[in-house]
Amino acid sequence: MRPREPFKWMAVGTIWFWLVAFALLPNLLVFVASFLQRGSDEFVAFAFTLGNYQRLLDPLYLGLLLDSFWLAAITTILCLLLGYPFAYLLTRMTPRWRPLLLLLVIIPFWTSSLVRTYAMVIVLKANGLLNQILLGLGLIDEPLELLYTEPAVILGMLYALLPFMILPLYATLEKLDHRLIEAARDLGAGQFTIFRRIIVPLTLPGIIAGSILTFLPGLGMFYVADLLGGAKALLVGNLIRDQFLSARDWPFGAAVSVMLTVLMGVLLAAYYLSSRRASRGVMP
């Protein structure tokens, strides 16, 4: 490397500046704000407190948090159950069709979740498609109240987030070394053993990455709860938003957000460990 390389230092300097200014510093401010008190004319008052975190354990908020975790967990599990066999089948399709089939998952991945949630509203509303079909088939006599229920929120999140589970799963399943499976079969392992002892551990990074991309947004996507769940504050995302918008209690909103960030940290650490293990597993 020559002594003076302006390009290198410009490139490295710019990205570092941007990340420090717009990623690290803002999150540090959130962390600090979460220990401050609610202000009367300013957004925060500079007095230390642990009260915001204690309030998370208040039955009122704890109930909401647990409900939201429950909804996000169910969504994640449904995404996994639906997405894993789907991603696996994609990897087993002929190379001729695979790019097209993959593209059909990539398109909804990049499509606005809001627009797709709205499409779900059209399907589920009282005179919507699903009710019309059920009525037409004579399965029901009058339209069902599908909107503004918890199952509707789960369905909406499943719909919005499924591509975010499928793509990371596909990426790890595609790299799966099928010689390992054959070797195990030759050694007498059954289907279930092969799945549990070989396929799952090797694709665990994809499972965790997909779960991060569905579970965390599943906690946060307040517009899905608004549009499909009615006006009730159902998700952690609604709670945070309301603290910043209507309740004007920024420190408490910041504390809830810190909780999400810590959760992300834990999940990312799990991802890191599992991908290290998986890559060690296949190394000779």
Binding site: F22, L103, T111, V123, L162, G220
Partner: protein
């Protein structure tokens, strides 16, 4: 072996049906000549016409296009040079930088939204055009980095070494060799950023004010009031723009391997 493929195909078809049917319904209804009924009453452009007759809505759409264009462009410059730096150089904190970009990409939108809101409030920046632009550049950067980095390994290193031996500076190597070779990935990164910016609801929700309205937030406030054929038409246009961008991006990223 042949027989048991049938349930497999059936499963794929069902999941694709789940992914696409609601969108299809939305698109079809946007052309339906009936304001309330579900039944097909013939095709119409009326709802699209109504959208284009609404000057406020056009202004909002223009705002969104402006933010998307600018934020995608800035993010593409920063993201591309970052990808090249990560690929070519060793420097202090490189591993941390790599990890930070990954974490930034995985960060839930709501966390990023309120973090930036608190930052802008601490700096007393009024929420609007500039805060929105800074926020969109921030969430676009990692996607450009990843897109460009994914295509960077594939070409001849000797080309770069030769240029260096002949006295090219690092900037010349970037400008004359890497950029032309990486052009498809760079353009794809720009298109994906544009799409992300055009569709973002959650981050924008916190970092823009009433002075600068954008399309996704406008749609959000319209949708909360109920289903109308005009929203169907507007959402269909959004879907069309995204589809076009993604198809071009994927075409550019398709490697000749």
């Amino acid at each position: 072996m042949r027989l048991n493929r049938l349930p497999q195909y059936l499963y794929l078809v069902l999941v694709y049906g789940f992914l696409y049917l609601p969108i299809l319904v939305l698109v079809v209804y946007s052309f339906n000549d009936s304001k309330y009924s579900l039944e097909w009453q013939g095709a119409t452009w009326e709802w699209y016409q109504n959208l284009f007759d609404d000057p406020d809505l056009l202004q909002v759409a223009l705002n969104s296009a402006l933010i998307a264009t600018l934020s995608a462009s800035v993010a593409t410059v920063i993201g591309t040079t970052t990808a090249v730096a990560l690929h070519r150089y060793e420097f202090f904190g490189k591993t941390v930088l790599n990890a930070l970009i990954f974490v930034l990409m995985m960060t839930p939108d709501i966390v990023m939204g309120i973090a930036l809101l608190i930052l802008f409030a601490s700096l007393s920046l009024p929420l609007g055009f500039w805060t929105l632009l800074l926020a969109h550049v921030t969430f676009n950067i990692p996607f450009v980095v990843v897109t460009v980095l994914g295509r960077i390994g594939g070409f001849d290193r000797h080309l770069i070494e030769a240029a260096r031996d002949l006295g090219a500076t690092e900037f010349q190597v970037f400008h004359k060799i890497l950029l032309p070779l990486l052009a498809p990935a760079v353009v794809a990164g720009w298109l994906l950023s544009f799409t992300l910016s055009m569709d973002d609801v959650m981050v924008s929700f916190f970092v823009t004010g009433p002075s600068f309205e954008i399309l996704p937030l406008k749609i959000y406030s319209m949708v909360r009031l109920g289903v109308t054929p005009e929203i169907n038409a507007l959402c269909t246009i959004m879907l069309g723009v995204t589809l076009g961008m993604i198809l071009i991006a994927q075409l550019l990223l398709r490697e000749k391997s």
